[in-house]
Amino acid sequence: MASSTPASASAPERPQSLAQAVLSGGTSAALRVAQVVRRYPFPCLMALVLLLIGLGSGLADLVAPADPLAINPRERLFGPTTTYIMGTDALGRDVFTRVLYGGRASLGVSIASVGIAIGISTFVGLVSGAVSGWLDVLVQRIVDVLMAFPGLIIVISLTAFLGNSVGLLIVVIAIALLGAGIRVARAAAIQVSSQPYIEAARTLGAGQARIIGRHILPNAMPPILVIATAQLGIAILIEASVSFLGYGIQPPAASWGFMLGAEARIHMIEQPWLSVWPGLAIFLTVFSFNIIGDALRDAFDPRLRGA
């Protein structure tokens, strides 16, 4: 779609978007933050929520009130109490603690797989979009194959035969995300390549590598950043589905998906809270990523505002 032009690449006489104003500096840091918050109150709130989830999960060792694996048969299947703010599971483990540790697993897997996917797809997409010719045709065919790749299904098939390895989970989720990533990066590269300043750089004698690295890459960044944010949410959902089916992160380690799986389903009638918390955690995280992604797109491309 023509509408995904990176705004930061276009002529300076257009009124500056807030994102540009923020990036170009000129105001104090505090003022900039205030501006962003005023322009995007809800996305900022969701960013804060995400930050809390991220910190809580990342620092689970320090923050968690209990041991995620400590079993306490006498206090099993509690609802929320003052001691156990999210209650306890069938083995009497603290659910809040397990949600924190589960977040560490889910976020870790999704950040790692999106990192790999975006790194590769940026490189491949930009080169293919900028160089064109037979290489581009080949890449497009590969993207076709990757887009038809039923991610979730291949992830469970492979983890089932490989034994469950977190590394494998990360790699396969990354493969499932590659197609869309390459597509976006390539489209951005094609868009940027047609700009006069690329021609100018070429006239000045810049080589292909320099043009891609110094000129196309920075200007193609906005759409790539937007898709990366969206993919963080998708990766969380894939990981959760796989773990829900029991083929992802293995018990007794906690993960959001697994907590909703067999663990919660058996005791759902007895203790419905068990299936509320991890689901809510997944929902909030994915929701935040989506809202932030929308706001980023909005900030990078004012023409799409509200689109």
Binding site: M1, R141, P150, G151, I154, L158, S241, F283, V286
Partner: protein
Amino acid sequence: MRGYLLRRLLLAALTLLGISVLVAGMMRTLPGDVVDVLAAEAFYDDREKERLREELGLEDPFFVYFGKWLGAALQGDFGESLRTQRSVGDDLARRLDVTMELAILGLIIATTISVPLGILAALRRSQWPDYVARSIAVFALAIPGFWLATLAVVFGAKWFSWSPPLGYQPIWEAPFTNLQQMWLPALLFGLILAGVQTRILRTALLDVLRQDYMLTARAKGLSRLLLLRRHALRNSLIPFVTVIGVQFPVVLGGAVVFELIFALPGLGAYLLDGIANRDYVVVQAVNVWIAGAVIITNLLVDVSYGFLDPRIRVGA
């Protein structure tokens, strides 16, 4: 149009070949040996292991193995299940019905929700109908389908004493019982899918609505309804249909989870059984079939472009 179709068909075949190589390659590069995994669980001795390796073609170099597999697959022979000794092709054909029914019902429900919602949001942009529609869409995008389905099954049973009739009935034999079993998974599935669709339709419509030709048509005195139907909707159909195609791998992936939760004997359930039985032949076949279903859907989407947009029909 014929050239266009032919080109698309060729590309689809190429993609299917590519994905078969990828799936087979991934299954082959698994560290260790599938036969060892199988043997450990079934207590095979060395001679049986040897026979199984031979039978699966694991002794051959990859491309010989793949060539043999492909040759058989092209004739509809996907091998025999290691566990049940039944023809995988026959089993797949039977189960494809269930999954396709779920996917198609889900897509119909999703479209029924997303089309009015998307139109409303685009026409009442930045007003409350837009905010409501967008909120619903963003919520639907972020809710894990398996969570929603589990909640529905458990609380349906707990609060309304409702549960789908046991024992799956094919739609061709007992349509009423079948729909009793299918409506809830299809509805939840549709709700989840409607999120992406609503967003895409809204964006596409907004894109069309600000085009100059819309202003021209309006200036010529076309009524708003006609304008919407003849110009705006028609032109936003391409991105909308594209997203249905792009969603399809997700749809089939989601079907696995929904089939598990609602105990429907579709491709997903077959795959999970295959995995639980370490049935290499079944797992590989299901993956290729699902990829095939995705590619055929995308082919249909590509073909529909030709009908939707005369420029594509002529240009390609």
